[in-house]
């Protein structure tokens, strides 16, 4: 247990709410094109999705069907060298990796894996497949992964598509529990990825 007395002290001293302000969600209508991650990247979902109003980063955005621990689609757009996939929450001790210069497509799964490992505080994470695939009309990379989280008996599966356009990184990923949910919503998430346009 990490510094349990200090955690307890923080709880004792600081009159903060037990959890951060709950993330808000806004309904996205089906069959309508919508720009995501404060960028020109637009997608058209086949069904209604919930769009998170709390951004995981300046250039990121989260969607879900039933809640992010059940199904999560993450968009990152126009990321530049020196920027991170998510907002740093513990920069002093666990800074997120920054996008490097001269990225190759094979660097993207590594960059995303390291970001997710740190953001989720887990070492149980494996990239299970990497293959070339067109994304946003460009040569891109498609990759799949699995991971598990502390205090959670579920295994998670994920898949992502990404590309680099004029040195900027674009990515859409989909994570869900391997048990039932991943397969249930996979086609819906992939349809969003298929629909992505710049």
């Amino acid at each position: 247990m990490k510094g349990f007395v200090r955690i307890a002290l923080a709880a004792a001293l600081v009159a903060l709410p037990a959890t951060q302000a709950a993330a808000g969600w806004k309904l996205i209508a089906a069959k309508e094109s919508v720009q995501v991650a404060k960028s020109k990247m637009a997608v058209t979902p086949n069904e209604a999705w919930n769009r998170g109003t709390h951004r995981a980063s300046k250039k990121g955005e989260t969607w879900t069907l039933d809640g992010p621990s059940i199904s999560e689609v993450y968009f990152a757009a126009a990321l530049l060298p020196g920027e991170t996939f998510y907002k740093d929450t513990d920069k002093k001790n666990h800074p997120l990796p920054m996008m490097g210069k001269n990225l190759q497509l094979t660097d993207i799964p590594e960059f995303y894996e390291s970001s997710q490992r740190i953001a989720y505080s887990t070492s149980v994470y494996e990239v299970t497949g990497i293959e070339p695939m067109k994304f946003l009309g460009q040569d891109g990379v498609k990759f799949s992964y699995t991971f598990a989280l502390q205090g959670n008996p579920l295994q998670y599966k994920g898949l992502a598509r990404a590309t680099l356009i004029k040195g900027q990184l674009y990515l859409i990923s989909y994570d869900a529990p391997a048990l039932s949910f991943f397969d249930r919503d996979r086609a819906k998430a992939e349809a969003i990825m298929d629909s992505a346009r710049l």
Binding site: V5, R6, A12, P95, G100, E131, V141
Partner: protein, 394 residues
Amino acid sequence: MRFRQLVMMIAAVSVATEPVLAAPAVAPLPKPAAVEIVADESYVPQDQDERGLWMEMEKVERELKISPLVMRDPALNAYIKSVLCKTIGQARCAPVRLYIIRTSEFNATMAPNGMLEVYSGLLLRTRNEAQLAAVLGHEYTHYAQRHSLKLFRDVRSKSASLMWLQMVVGGLLASLMILPSIFKHSRDMEQDADVGGLAFMSKAGYDTREAARIWEQLREEMDATAASRKVKSRKDKDHGMFEDHPPSSERVKYLTEMAAKDPGTPGATGQEAYAANMAPDWGDFADDQIKQNDFGASDYLITSLGKQGWTDWLYFARGELYRRHAAEGDLEKAAGFYGEGIAASPGLPDLWRGRGLVLLKLGRADEGKADLREYLKRAPDASDKAMIAMMAGG
């Protein structure tokens, strides 16, 4: 004010070793006293408080039993358990349930009900059996001395005073008056556990100087992290009266003094046995570390292991670290490390993958593509074969 939460949290968690936390104490620590080890294999909870703590921990243990983070490899579990048994003796060791947790963090904890968690990040950092024994003996002492229960009772007894003080002098001030004594209690228990751990090491026939080495290594690792991040080292970061562990500099000092008085079996570090048993997993643990985005610490850990003998996976880990870091000159160094790995033992196909990707970035396309083709030849079922084939030119 959330003192109830504090009490509940302390009740719900075990006393833990948090080796990373280290800072100068406000007051000099007392001279370590001998620790009486009172637990044995037949021990059961004695009263309502202790039964409550055990129940809480049993709930945690039920979750742990099905956690995907637990490493279930029988050989690794058998080895760690054997070191524990050698350290604390067969009778004490038998009822302990060991859970090896896959996480890059440096930690181990033993809960009041006899559930021992050992993190893989610890197994990457301890260099020999003696160092592992020091940590396991430390944790067992927490358990044997029922430190969680004592801390719980300490908090409860002080909570009444705290509530009264809150009414009189206000919440924050009241906390500042009461809480330091709880932290002091925690620091004292950590020191007792260090004393107990060293006594176990000595009795088991290990070189007790290795206990202090753990903290020296950790301080060196913190320096390495700081140097690469261009910040001040946190090895002497001071949380003052709110520090729950003795400062690492103090631990080095008193453990060194204790080892001089009770050397155990000088030279008996069990380094070879440890390295042989860790070999199948160290590559994975190093991989976890590299992906934590701490270049300085990762390079320090890899080169420290390299001093015990460079292997193909160590060269590979260093190549991966430098390739991902990719600061000026890093790619050339990475290519060199992969090359040394190939020369040492060409059994790891990923050495060619890494070098191939680096050479492509360095503009040496023909050599890079040749390496990538060699990788595909050696790993025809690789999960990234389609991608690498494309980069290798079809």
